[in-house]
């Protein structure tokens, strides 16, 4: 596009592709060590100012559909997938439009965000650690893929990530209820986010009771357990050997957001910025880190020997206009941190890391089964973070041999996810049906409407069953020259399906849910069927199910012990290309049942250490010695 060969040619120690959570953490660590880091972000960077944040809040407030990407302005040249891109068909099946091209039997129903801060802007902020069993699912339970490293290798980095993200939690409870190993006397930086009233009600009725997945199977005892959050809470005075912890406030406004105040809109945006976002890490970057936004990396460049030498990127000015200038930047190390799907896309476009034929394969998410109902008294939904507690008893164990394990999230945001509450409740009571073209029926108005809304919404609750999905080669991201975006870059083509073991997990989850609802004496309103809002509908063993995506895309540049069967090694280094790292959830060989961001952050920090060593080694002076002449014996 540009006349000169390398108009923007600059040299750095490290180029990081993507200013999301993993990229921001890598840049921080390496910048702190004095390395010159260039961060290239495909999206815009308005969110790190307070007016930008307020604009996103306003956009969210006025959005008709409150989905994870709704606060963030659309970007035509660096588009993001949106959960609204996928719709269900009346008789089952789905239709997809938008950025991702979908070719699977079932839709990949998750989004991500291409903007500075990345998907970490709209994440919920839950930071459970993975269970030690999750790292060895192949050898222990006979499915999926094993990690080349285990929980113990990652434990110190989990702690480092918990510091960087600012995690609030109860380590003793995590150890006792889930069996997670922590160093003796470890406490999280902040005390746990207090349980919601709903959590207390559920705990009173469920704790100590046992449920069965099916008649004759083993009993599992229920226990409501608080969830660790990357969300500001009361700092723990015993943290860090008694030095305590100082909560990190909002990016763009001093002295703001140093505690969670219980807004329930964590996903997609925390108004107070008590929730960690990568913008907080960026605010602490050293001067050695340079961020360039609106720079879409289009190709990774290598030397003839296969070593990474830089990237080619397209710098654009107007997010609505298909115009850009192509530039290159060079560095000793290139770190892809652009999200699992974008990292795979970049490797495929650059025709790199081809040896194992695993790039783009093993795409995983946490398919979510929702169940929802009304309690027999008000439980105060829409207050406090989206979730404060869960039921952890189904995350591992013998059941895992035959069906996917799952983690049960207690949702504090009513039926907003399963049924679009409270907007949908208002519409229903106003007499509006699903068909917007049909005449409106008789509705309630004024005080009667408010009272009826209060009666219904105040009793809403939902459970989110987050299923582990195992690595399967058939679930994959590819590219197709026929499908390109406005800048001419290929759009990701996704082929996705759920295995029978995931579906068996959902059937078990539904059976568990039925018993929980019985114990709660709750009115079950769960209903699964095909329709426009149920693209994730399928039938399994004669029953209907609908799943949602969790936005936890993973596995597409899978980590392994051998260059023949995996894309990256345990340091997230591409086996085939010295100096090229692919970091993020794409490296994960299995995802367990924990929300993956904390594990991703721990991996990124671990890789930063390796990158630092690699850069240091590259600069180590060679000592030239005179070769001694062989001793001459007389």
């Amino acid at each position: 596009m540009s006349g000169s060969a390398h108009p923007g040619r600059r040299r750095y120690d490290v180029i990081v592709v993507g200013a999301g959570m993993a990229g921001s953490l890598v840049a921080k660590r390496l910048g702190d060590q004095g390395w010159r880091v260039l961060v290239l972000e495909a999206g815009t960077g308005t969110l790190d100012t307070w007016p930008g944040h307020l604009d996103a809040l306003d956009t969210f407030a006025s959005a008709v559909a409150k989905v994870p990407n709704s606060p963030y302005r659309p970007n035509a040249v660096a588009p993001s997938p949106d959960v609204l891109d996928v719709g269900g068909l009346p008789g089952g099946g789905y239709r997809a439009h938008g950025y991702l091209v979908q070719r699977g039997a079932l839709p990949y129903n998750s989004d991500y965000l291409r903007a500075s801060g990345g998907t970490g802007l709209h994440w919920l902020g839950l930071t459970p650690r993975m269970h030690p069993d999750d790292f060895t699912v192949r050898s222990r339970y006979g499915y999926g893929r094993d990690w080349p490293i285990g929980y113990d290798d990652l434990e110190a980095h989990y702690r480092a990530a918990e510091r960087e993200l600012g995690v609030a939690g109860d380590a003793a409870e995590q150890a006792d209820a889930i069996g997670l190993p922590f160093p003796e006397d470890y406490v999280y930086p902040m005390r746990e986010i207090p349980r919601s009233y709903l959590d207390d009600v559920l705990a009173a009725r469920l704790d100590g009771h046992a449920v069965q997945e099916k008649p004759g199977s083993a009993h599992t005892t229920l226990r409501v357990v608080t969830t660790p959050h990357a969300r500001n809470s009361t700092p723990h005075e015993d943290y860090d050997g008694g030095r305590g912890y100082r909560p990190v406030g909002a990016a763009g406004l001093p002295n703001y957001g140093e505690r969670c105040v219980g807004n329930a809109s964590c996903t997609p945006i925390c108004p107070a910025q008590a929730k960690y976002t990568p913008l907080k890490t960026q605010a602490a970057w050293s001067r050695d880190v340079t961020l360039v936004t609106r720079a879409v990396v289009s190709r990774v460049l290598t030397t003839s020997g296969g070593r990474a030498r830089g990237v080619e990127y397209q710098e654009y000015d107007d997010p609505a206009a298909p115009a850009s200038v192509t530039r290159t930047a060079e560095a000793d190390v290139v770190v892809l941190a652009a999200h699992a799907i974008e990292n795979a896309k970049l490797l495929l476009v650059s025709q790199l890391a081809t040896r194992s034929d695993q790039v783009g394969r093993n795409l995983m998410d946490h398919p979510v089964l929702l169940t929802w109902g009304l309690m027999n008294h008000p439980v105060g939904p829409f207050r406090g973070p989206g979730s404060t507690s869960g039921l952890e008893g189904f995350r591992t164990g013998a059941g895992r041999r035959t069906r996917a394990p799952f983690r049960i999230v207690i949702a504090n945001w009513g039926w907003s996810w399963p049924a679009g509450s409270p907007g949908a409740d208002v519409a229903r009571l106003l007499g509006m049906g699903d068909d917007s073209a049909a005449p409106r029926g008789r509705g309630l108005f004024g005080a009667a409407l408010r009272e009826e809304l209060g009666r219904g919404i105040s009793r809403q609750f939902a459970l989110q069953f987050e299923m582990e999905q195992e690595a399967e080669g058939r679930n994959r991201v590819t590219i197709d020259p026929l499908h390109r975006d406005l800048l001419g870059n290929p759009r990701p083509v996704v082929t996705y399906d759920l295995s029978d073991r995931v579906k068996r997990g959902m059937a078990a989850a539904k059976a568990v849910s039925d018993q929980i609802f019985g114990l709660l004496d709750a009115e079950d309103h769960t209903a699964y069927g095909p329709g426009p809002f149920a693209p994730g509908h399928f039938r399994f063993e004669g029953r209907d199910f609908v799943y949602q995506g969790a936005g936890h895309g993973a596995g597409t540049h899978v980590m392994g012990a051998s260059r023949e069967t995996s894309v990256v090694d345990q340091w997230q280094r591409c086996w085939d290309h010295p100096g090229l790292y692919a970091v993020g959830c794409g490296s994960m060989p299995s995802v367990g049942t924990a929300n993956p961001s904390l594990t991703m952050a721990a991996l990124a920090l671990r890789s930063s250490e390796r990158i630092h060593r690699e850069l240091s080694e590259l600069r180590r002076p060679l000592t030239v010695r005179t070769a001694h002449a062989p001793e001459v014996r007389p």
Binding site: T234, R246, L253, P254, N255, E258, G262
Partner: protein, 398 residues
């Protein structure tokens, strides 16, 4: 040191002529350096009352901004309010550290408005005004860095001068703390129960940090935070949050208000004398709910929705003070329960200020209904009796 800001004197109190009522007078301690522990407690209680005195006027300016308007000003005023709350809490820590008992939930603690600014030479009315130039002029007067007279007893100060500035009052407390520490011994002066000290885990640190006061050094640091966050440090425009807390350095209160008043931000090299020369600040003076600066609940017709809302606001404000007092005089963890109460106040204010004034004559002037902060002992009794079933009570430690 003569911090003679170019604006000193600009806010001529004589311009506040729209106030007709007599100004409420806040009791001032005797004009001398506190001589014993009991007198120090009297001074510190007066400081607590003084720190609180500014909060209702600042909240009024904030709450008269229709939601979403004047955002830069909104966040600036909000940040100052938070720091006044921090100052209140630090003064409470000082009182507790020296064996005193903070008094908060009492009708004597909440002055009537309009009040006369205490410790000031001039008769400056402090009224509950909507966001506007008059409110800002008052705020500038309250926070202004000015030549600070030495404490009473100093050769340069005559015995009958009386208090001339808030800075002088705080310098006098400082002098008293130092003298008493010398006289009684540091350990003896700071013999208060350490369990009463509010620390960072109890307070939503926002703008500086709450810290325990346990000795002379922490006591002097607390007094330094209080004066420097308001007036700036050593003749500059910034506070010392960077040096004291490792935080971002901020423009001190006086200069933050001046940014709004001048519709322009301070640049990095500005001084009090240069005034703000940075980027323009987006201030829309017309985007406000104008209110009667002398509004009383009694002006609203009995039984009307506005009357009920104004009454309810005062009840909830009383509850906030009851929660604060319990936090300052018992378990500091109770302060966590103040947060839902403050959010409730915000929502009540939003519902109240948007109503036109019920009086047709005042409505014709474009005036809106307002919160009056008339907090009586009846409100406190009610708030204490109903605390356990009030919204937010679940946040109280069990």
């Amino acid at each position: 040191m003569t911090a003679t800001g170019p604006l000193t004197g600009q806010t001529d109190p004589a311009r506040h002529t729209d106030i007709s009522a007599a100004l409420a007078v806040v009791e001032e301690p005797p004009f001398r350096v506190p001589r014993d522990r009991a007198e120090l407690h009297l001074f510190l209680q007066a400081a607590l009352t003084l720190e609180h005195l500014t909060i209702p006027p600042y909240l009024t300016a904030m709450y008269t901004l229709p939601p979403g308007t004047n955002r830069p000003a909104h966040y600036a005023v909000r940040a100052v309010v938070l720091e006044e709350m921090l100052h209140m809490t630090l003064v409470a820590n000082l009182l507790n550290a020296t064996g005193g008992t903070p008094l908060v939930a009492h009708s004597r603690f909440v002055t009537g408005y309009p009040a006369r600014l205490p410790f000031s030479r001039d008769k400056v009315p402090v009224a509950l005004r909507h966001f506007g130039t008059k409110a800002l002029d008052t705020f500038l007067y309250i926070e202004r860095p000015e030549y600070v007279a030495e404490p009473p007893g100093h050769p340069s100060v005559a015995d009958d001068d009386g208090w001339t500035s808030i800075g002088q009052f705080y310098n006098t407390i400082r002098e008293g703390v130092i003298r008493l520490s010398r006289k009684l011994g540091e350990a003896e002066l700071f013999h208060g129960d350490p369990a009463r000290q509010v620390g960072p885990k109890d307070f939503y640190n926002s703008g500086g940090e709450v810290f325990a006061v346990t000795d002379l050094a922490s006591a002097l640091k607390a007094l330094r935070v209080i004066t420097e966050q308001g007036e700036g440090a050593a003749g500059g425009i910034h506070d010392t949050d960077d040096r004291l807390f490792g935080e971002v350095r901020e423009v001190a209160h006086y200069f933050r208000f001046n940014e709004i008043r001048q519709e322009r931000s301070y640049g990095p090299h500005d001084t009090p004398r240069s005034g703000p020369t940075g980027p323009a600040m987006d201030v829309a003076w017309q985007d406000t709910y104008p209110i009667d600066p002398e509004a009383k609940v009694a002006h609203y017709p009995p039984g009307s929705a506005v009357r009920r809302a104004a009454d309810h606001f005062n009840e909830v404000y009383a509850r906030l003070l009851v929660v604060l007092e319990r936090g300052y005089t018992g378990d500091p963890a109770v302060l966590g329960a103040a947060v839902p109460v403050m959010l409730e106040l915000r929502d009540l204010a939003e519902a109240l200020y948007r109503n036109p004034h019920p009086d047709p004559a005042k409505r014709a002037l474009g005036l809106h209904a307002a919160a009056t902060y008339e907090i009586t002992d009846r409100h406190f009794t009610l708030a204490r009796d109903r605390l356990s079933e009030a919204p937010g009570a679940t946040a109280l430690p069990g």
